[in-house]
C-alpha cells in the first residue's frame, strides 16, 4: 500500500504543469497569440516578403491574392502607393510590441511602487496618493495621452511616455487597495512579529501575494498600450511618418475604404487580435497563478 501511494506521489505533475492546465484554453490561446506577435516583431526583416516602404505605383491598391485581380507577390494586396500590406502589418507589429511592453512595464513599475507605499503607510501619504490618482483619473485618458504626445512631440519615446504618465494610476489604485487588504491578514502581522521591517514585509511577504494581480494588470495594460499607440498613430502624432504602424495604416486605409477596404480591415484585425490575445493571456495567467485556486 505504502509503495503505491509513494509512486503515485512521484508521478504528480510539476506545479508549472498544473498551473498551465488550470489556466485552460484562455491561457493557451492568449499565450499563442502573444507569442506569434512577438516572433513576428522580432523576425520582421526575415519574414516580410517586401520592404514595407518600397512603393510600386504601377500595382497600387491590389486586392489580396485570393481575390479577383490579386497578385501572389502581394499576399494581402497593396495600398494606394503600391506598398505591400502584409509587410507593413509585420513591421508595424514591432512598434506595437515595443510600445506595449515598455509602456506597460514602466507604468507598472511606477504604479506598483506608489501603490505599495500608499497602501502600507496609510495616513496622509495614502490620502495624498489617492487624491492624486483621483484627479489623474478624472481626465479622459486618451485625450490626455494625445495632448501629452502633442506637447512632447512625435517619436517612440514620447508615445511610451504619454502612456506611462496616464496609465500608472491603473496599477497604483488596485495595488494600493490590495496591499492594504493583505496587510490586514494574519500572515502579514506574523511577519512583523518575527522582526521584519516594513520594507522587508512588503518585499518578501506581501509582493509575492500580489503577483497574480500584477501579472494580470500587466497583460491587460499591454493591450491597452497597443490600443493607445494605434489611436495616437491614427491621429498622426506617433512615430515618424515613414515607419509603418497599424494606426497609420487605418488612417491611410480610411481614405480608400470604398476602393480597397482590405487595407483598413487587415490593420483593424491585427489590433483586435492582439488586444484580445493580451486579455486572454492575462485572464489565463491569473487563474494559473492564483493561490486560492491551487487546491
Amino acid at each position: 500500500m505504502v509503495d503505491v501511494a509513494a509512486s503515485v506521489a512521484l508521478q504528480q505533475p510539476s506545479r508549472w504543469a498544473m498551473g498551465f492546465r488550470r489556466g485552460g484554453a484562455r491561457l493557451w490561446v492568449g499565450g499563442a497569440i502573444v507569442a506569434v506577435l512577438i516572433l513576428v516583431a522580432l523576425l520582421a526583416p526575415w519574414i516580410a516578403p517586401h520592404d514595407p516602404i518600397e512603393q510600386d505605383l504601377l500595382s497600387g491598391q491590389l486586392p489580396p491574392a485570393w481575390m479577383h485581380g490579386g497578385d501572389t507577390a502581394y499576399l494581402l494586396g497593396t495600398d494606394s502607393l503600391g506598398r505591400d500590406v502584409l509587410s507593413r502589418l509585420i513591421y508595424a507589429a514591432r512598434v506595437a510590441v515595443v510600445v506595449g511592453f515598455v509602456a506597460a512595464l514602466l507604468a507598472g513599475a511606477i504604479g506598483i511602487t506608489l501603490g505599495l507605499i500608499a497602501g502600507s503607510f496609510g495616513g496622509w501619504i495614502d490620502q495624498a496618493t489617492s487624491r492624486l490618482i483621483d484627479v489623474w483619473m478624472a481626465f479622459p485618458p486618451i485625450l490626455l495621452s494625445i495632448v501629452l504626445a502633442a506637447v512632447i512631440g512625435a517619436g517612440l519615446t514620447s508615445v511610451i511616455l504619454a502612456i506611462v504618465v496616464v496609465d500608472w494610476t491603473r496599477f497604483a489604485r488596485i495595488i494600493r487597495a490590495e496591499t492594504a487588504v493583505q496587510l490586514q491578514r494574519d500572515y502579514a502581522m506574523a511577519a512583523r512579529v518575527i522582526g521584519l521591517n516594513r520594507g522587508q514585509t512588503l518585499r518578501l511577504e506581501i509582493l509575492p501575494n500580489l503577483v497574480p494581480l500584477v501579472v494580470t494588470l500587466l497583460a491587460v495594460e499591454m493591450g491597452v498600450a497597443i490600443l493607445v499607440e494605434v489611436i495616437l498613430s491614427f491621429v498622426g502624432i506617433s512615430v515618424a511618418g515613414d515607419t509603418p504602424t497599424w494606426g497609420g495604416m487605418i488612417a491611410e486605409g480610411r481614405q480608400i475604404i470604398y476602393q480597397s477596404p482590405w487595407v483598413m480591415a487587415f490593420a483593424i484585425g491585427c489590433v483586435i487580435v492582439s488586444v484580445v490575445g493580451f486579455n486572454l493571456l492575462g485572464d489565463g495567467l491569473r487563474t494559473a497563478l492564483d493561490p486560492v485556486q491551487r487546491r
Binding site: 496609510g122 491578514r185 494574519d186 500572515y187 502581522m189 506574523a190 511577519a191 512583523r192 512579529v193 518575527i194 522582526g195 521584519l196 521591517n197 518578501l204 511577504e205 509575492p208 501575494n209 503577483v211 493561490p291 486560492v292 491551487r294 487546491r295
Partner: protein, 295 residues
C-alpha cells in the same frame, strides 16, 4: 531573578475624544523565566490586546495612556524601533490564534521557517533549512524534508499550527505569547498541540504567556494564572490556588460555568448577568475617576 516580562499599570485606549474606548484599565502582571502563565477572561476582557501591546502590534488608533512594559528589565516602550524588531522573533515569539491564515499562502513552509532563522541567527539558507528540518521533526511532523517543500494549503490545520509552533520556538526565545493557539483546532488536535507546547517548553525553557478562555487548558499546563475582565486584573495567583479557592466572585462564577466530568451537566450555571453588570459599572466608574484625576 528579573521577570522576563513585567507589565506595570498598563492603560490602553482605542480612539480619541468622544469615541475613545478604554480596553486596558491598569493591568499589571509579571512572567518569570520559564513560567507558564495563563491569561483568562471572556471575549472583550482585553487579553488579546495585552498580548498585542507586548508585541507592538496594537491597532493604528490605539494608544498607551499610562504604564510600562519591560522585557527582561529593559523598558520595551521606549526601545528604538530597530532594537525592538531585533527582539521580536528572537527573544519574544508569538504562536498565533488561527493557523489557517497565519502562514503566507504563497510561500513554501520551509522558506517561512527559514526566514525567521535567517533573520535572527545569521545562518546561511542551507543551514536554516537544515535547522528547519530538525524543528519540524521536533514538533512531531513525519517526513519533514517533504513538508518543507509544501505550501500551507497542502497541509492540515493541525500541521500548520505545529509549523507555527516550530517557528515560535525556532530561535529559542525567552518569552512566547500564545494567543489562544488551540481555539481554532478540534479537540483531539488541541490535546496534541498542548502536549507539544508543554514538551518544547520543558526542553527549551521558554516562559509562556498563554492567552485563552479555556479554564481546562489553564489547569492542564499553566502553573500560574491571571483572570481579567473589562481590561482589569481581577485575580492572580498559582493555578491550583485560584481554581480550588477562588477569591473573586467572577472567578467563582467562571468556574461554576465550566463543564466538568465529575459534575452533572445541570450543575452548570451561567455567569450571573448582575455580576457582569456590576463589574462593568465599576470599570466605567474608574474611567470617570481617571478622567477627573487627569484634568
Amino acid at each position: 531573578m528579573t521577570a522576563v516580562l513585567s507589565i506595570q499599570d498598563l492603560h490602553v485606549t482605542i480612539g480619541r475624544g468622544a469615541r475613545a474606548a478604554n480596553v486596558l484599565r491598569g493591568v499589571s502582571l509579571e512572567v518569570q523565566p520559564g513560567e507558564v502563565r495563563g491569561l483568562v477572561g471572556e471575549s472583550g476582557a482585553g487579553k488579546s490586546m495585552l498580548g498585542r501591546a507586548v508585541l507592538g502590534l496594537l491597532p493604528a488608533d490605539a494608544w498607551i495612556g499610562k504604564g510600562g512594559i519591560a522585557f527582561a528589565g529593559r523598558d520595551f516602550l521606549t526601545l528604538p524601533e530597530r532594537e525592538r524588531r531585533d527582539l521580536l522573533g528572537r527573544q519574544i515569539a508569538l504562536i498565533p490564534q488561527d493557523p489557517m491564515t497565519s502562514l503566507n499562502p504563497v510561500k513554501r513552509v520551509g522558506d517561512q521557517i527559514a526566514r525567521v532563522l535567517q533573520r535572527h541567527l545569521a545562518l546561511s539558507r542551507r543551514q536554516a533549512l537544515q535547522r528547519a528540518t530538525e524543528l519540524l521533526a521536533e514538533v512531531a511532523i513525519r517526513d519533514p524534508q517533504r513538508v518543507l517543500g509544501l505550501y500551507p494549503y497542502e497541509i492540515s490545520g493541525g500541521m500548520r499550527q505545529r509549523v507555527l509552533i516550530a517557528m515560535a520556538f525556532g530561535c529559542d526565545p525567552s518569552l512566547i505569547i500564545a494567543d489562544e493557539p488551540t481555539t481554532a483546532l478540534d479537540v483531539t488536535v488541541q490535546r496534541q498541540v498542548l502536549q507539544l507546547i508543554e514538551r518544547l517548553r520543558e526542553r527549551r525553557g521558554a516562559a509562556i504567556l498563554f492567552v485563552t478562555h479555556d479554564l481546562g487548558v489553564v489547569a492542564k499546563i499553566c502553573r500560574t494564572m491571571t483572570v481579567m475582565h473589562a481590561g482589569r486584573v481581577l485575580e492572580d495567583g498559582e493555578t491550583a490556588d485560584v481554581l480550588t479557592r477562588p477569591r473573586h466572585a467572577y472567578t467563582r462564577a467562571l468556574l461554576a460555568a465550566t463543564p466538568r466530568a465529575d459534575r452533572p451537566a445541570d450543575a452548570l450555571r451561567p455567569v450571573p448577568p448582575a455580576l457582569i453588570e456590576s463589574l462593568w459599572s465599576e470599570a466605567h466608574r474608574l474611567d470617570r475617576l481617571s478622567i477627573v484625576g487627569r484634568t
